[in-house]
Subunit: 562 residues, 2 copies
Amino acid sequence: REYQGSPIGTDIECEGWRQEAALRMLNNNLDPDVAEKPEELVVYGGTGRAARSWDAYDTIVDELRELGDTETLLVQSGKPVGRFETHEKAPRVLIANSNLVGKWDNWEHFHELEAKGQIMYGQMTAGSWAYIGTQGIIQGTYETLAALAREHYPDNDGLRGKIVVTGGLGGMGGAQPLAVTMNHGVCIAAEVDEDRIDRRIETGYCQEKTDDLSTAIERAQEAAANGEPYSIGIHMNAADMLAEMLEMGFVPDVVTDQTSAHDELEGYYPAGYTVEEADGLRERDPETYVAESLETMERHVEGILELQDRGAIAFEYGNNIRGQVEDHRDLDSAFDFPGFVPAYIRPLFCEGKGPFRWAALSGDPADIHRTDDAVKELFPEKDDLHRWIDLAQEQVSFQGLPSRVCWLGYATEDGLTERARLALRINELVADGEISAPVVVTRDHLDAGSVASPNRETEAMKDGTDAVADWPILNALLNCAAGADIVSVHDGGGVGIGNSLHTNNHVVLDGSDLAAEKARRVFTTDPGMGVIRHADAGYEIAQDMADENNVAVPMRDRNRDR
Amino acid sequence: REYQGSPIGTDIECEGWRQEAALRMLNNNLDPDVAEKPEELVVYGGTGRAARSWDAYDTIVDELRELGDTETLLVQSGKPVGRFETHEKAPRVLIANSNLVGKWDNWEHFHELEAKGQIMYGQMTAGSWAYIGTQGIIQGTYETLAALAREHYPDNDGLRGKIVVTGGLGGMGGAQPLAVTMNHGVCIAAEVDEDRIDRRIETGYCQEKTDDLSTAIERAQEAAANGEPYSIGIHMNAADMLAEMLEMGFVPDVVTDQTSAHDELEGYYPAGYTVEEADGLRERDPETYVAESLETMERHVEGILELQDRGAIAFEYGNNIRGQVEDHRDLDSAFDFPGFVPAYIRPLFCEGKGPFRWAALSGDPADIHRTDDAVKELFPEKDDLHRWIDLAQEQVSFQGLPSRVCWLGYATEDGLTERARLALRINELVADGEISAPVVVTRDHLDAGSVASPNRETEAMKDGTDAVADWPILNALLNCAAGADIVSVHDGGGVGIGNSLHTNNHVVLDGSDLAAEKARRVFTTDPGMGVIRHADAGYEIAQDMADENNVAVPMRDRNRDR
Ligand SMILES: NC(=O)c1ccc[n+]([C@@H]2O[C@H](COP(=O)([O-])OP(=O)(O)OC[C@H]3O[C@@H](n4cnc5c(N)ncnc54)[C@H](O)[C@@H]3O)[C@@H](O)[C@H]2O)c1
Ligand SMILES: NC(=O)c1ccc[n+]([C@@H]2O[C@H](COP(=O)([O-])OP(=O)(O)OC[C@H]3O[C@@H](n4cnc5c(N)ncnc54)[C@H](O)[C@@H]3O)[C@@H](O)[C@H]2O)c1
């Protein structure tokens, strides 16, 4: 099936902009410029889908077109299963994807159900209609590498002169070369699928393609020596690349990976096969595929560990490759290199900061540029943010609906959080006609208070509550109570079935008072969950944040008052 | 700590009745007449607690007393962790208990966290403040046995002349003897804890206590022969009882069990120890305790299977004893006897029917009697319901706040479901002063559309989606969207950690228009989830129900229209 992407402009097909926003975001997810395999409804991240089947997709579209302003549509693993009367301040769409009862919460049972068409993998933003292409992850990757540089090379100009080696140039991983060069460094990224490398080069995320490793290393060393940002996609298996580097005695400054290792069957490619051969093997003999895939993964992790031993800075980049190898190959040392969240991101989560983002439903880039100005106007003192906006305008091409990502948090001014202030300002600009059509505000599921994921976002929590999933559930309920227009809860995502639970929200800024009311509440409660979750776990940054911004932490407040 | 139970009467301590209702229901849960071990905050079902600690309890009480009419309190595994501004139509309290990320979703990890005070077992209605004592389960047990009698003894007067053998006279299990005699049968129930038997006798749920099995069997046979309802609590281990019955060549008509087998450490008692000895062993050497407990459980299941072979009707009564023995003792035949839901309850779930219940916040039994009349007035044609109300008035003593349970469903009249009609009628009676104070309406987590539990409520679903947990999550979100006053999501419950996910809701009927609005919506969407969940799974009763009552089932509706 050929697919065109999202409707744009100021005329709507639905009864209101809230429903229209859901429709456009769903379609934007499947825009050929945004999604990895739109013809199969696959958006990104292995098999992360926007709808369970084309039949389900068509029915969702029909339902959204007719959905009233006080009705709520229910979507269960990508399929519309109900529609009920609720009220104006309630969400218009509620979504639950890929969730399984604990004991059955694994790939095996999931794949059984999937084969019968009874469940769908929602990944993080695929099934919640919030994916905006590689531009969505770019700031997160940029922030992570910037934090790494600050910590390990405090006197360096970012990553200038440093070589970062990684794998995977898919929907998310494709952001890596650009994020490295934005930090002035040099990147070598292995990718088995040549088309993916070409795509990153077309969109300016990556600069050169080769299939010769010696050439890649030479070019990288040259650029690093000259202090020039540069990026190279190397067409080979990432595990093989690391093994060969070790043989050649080459040790990069930083090593990480974003192949889809979370899914050993449909995400990761075993060594020794072309993509076509491997795809054939998967079809013919999935068991052998999985065995080979896990064996390659083990070599892959061993390569990372050996490079770490020889002096490289190593971190896992959220694809659960450590967990996979520990679980299935009994490699005890798998977790001897850290995940990126405890290493670089958690301090931001403590302040309620995370990948806040918005998309212009008009389809007009000028609308996003107006919001860029709004960010700069609202936060005149934040140099980093200004630098980010400039870099993004220059180097990040729009995909599908024009969008912007900005890591904003809870910190309040006049009782309004950073996120709320910006959302209210955008809502005013829509009301005043300075922005041509409503803007939808959402975020990644990887956010301060929205996720339990022991191998990633909640790895190594101070109090050991990594696996406690009450928090994302409360987050989803609270988003619903606060009046988000779409609320979703997913199992799995980037780390695979049974390894995480996480949520999302959308608020449609159509310039109305209702939108302002929803935005003020949702963008207080949602980052607020990040603050209380980390305060409860004993993080001082979060506790200070709560104290300074009047966030209620009942047990702490009461015991202090006494 | 000594504990008094719920405040009653028409004066309130909180800012409004919604908050007051939460406070009274929490306290009612811990009423010594209602809870099993209130001094430890344990309400029922092994270690099902109302709050994580007394410190947490005190803080919840303080928070509820001060909670505004547009604020929402967050409770995470029995501990208050946040308070945010929402709006009037949103819930006042959101609760998530015992939830763990899939891979860690097991007793072992739970107990580790519990030992550090970082999580709490919420059971089903304990942690959601909806437990009302044994009276809460009585109608469910009564309905199940009535369905059994209809199926297996169609020409008999219920269970008259039949002997039912079971185990466990705890919070839930204690309802069994009375439910049997209400169906005119004879019950022998094994219970290791003599105090529990005494308690059932005091409250009229059980008639006689003995510790001699021959006596018990003789008395039972005599009563059965005379067609007299009778109930006997036998003070012994249930596994031993079945083994001895087999030796003696005695085969009852029906065999089941409600010991707390879902929790091998803190719920079930191993044979060969008194309660005191076993409690000491648990403290001293939990590993040995668990080993002995599981060994007894295996003998217990073998006893049930052997009795079934010899002609008894056997069913599991929702304590996961089959799952426990299959998992931990590799007994392949464990599931050779059915669970009670597929056997007797599912057809009711297809119609959105489930254990709807309400409590009079005044504490005045007259208020419940007024609601009893309302049930009869509203449903003049439902003989079964009238009979139930009469039996309940006669034989079910109130515990804590006077309450009533009535299995009602989705069936509509003038667009209002059974549940909505009754709730709206009660709300009017409160408004008119015919009922002296507000009434809170809630239900069990075991309900038509609120639970995924492959060994119990969703065992053997027609399409094999037993473990799909999207449904309870959508149910909780929708309850929230519809404006329930308390919404909760729990893992575990009656079948143990990792074996189920389920939700609850409360709506406070204070006579206001807001209450009417909330009740109309919640009591449509909530049973409605039961209808769509079962329609989606292919149950014709549910599909007919949807067609006849205008419940949207989008994919089905669309494909039929074409
Ligand atoms: N850190 C984060 O914030 C974050 C965010 C999103 C996703 N992720 C995770 O990162 C991973 C990548 O996500 P994505 O959206 O880019 O996935 P994707 O499936 O779109 O892309 C994965 C890419 O890896 C390539 N690949 C697979 N195995 C390979 C191998 N052995 N050697 C070389 N290339 C190989 C594939 O050809 C594909 O292009 C996933 O596991 C995802 O869950 C992390
Ligand atoms: N079917 C349902 O609808 C339903 C509803 C609620 C609870 N349950 C399940 O039923 C079980 C009982 O619930 P409860 O609230 O009564 O629990 P409880 O912990 O209050 O009572 C359990 C009783 O069983 C006794 N017991 C334990 N092991 C025994 C043994 N081997 N022999 C004899 N007696 C033994 C204990 O002394 C205790 O009195 C639980 O597993 C619960 O999860 C089922």
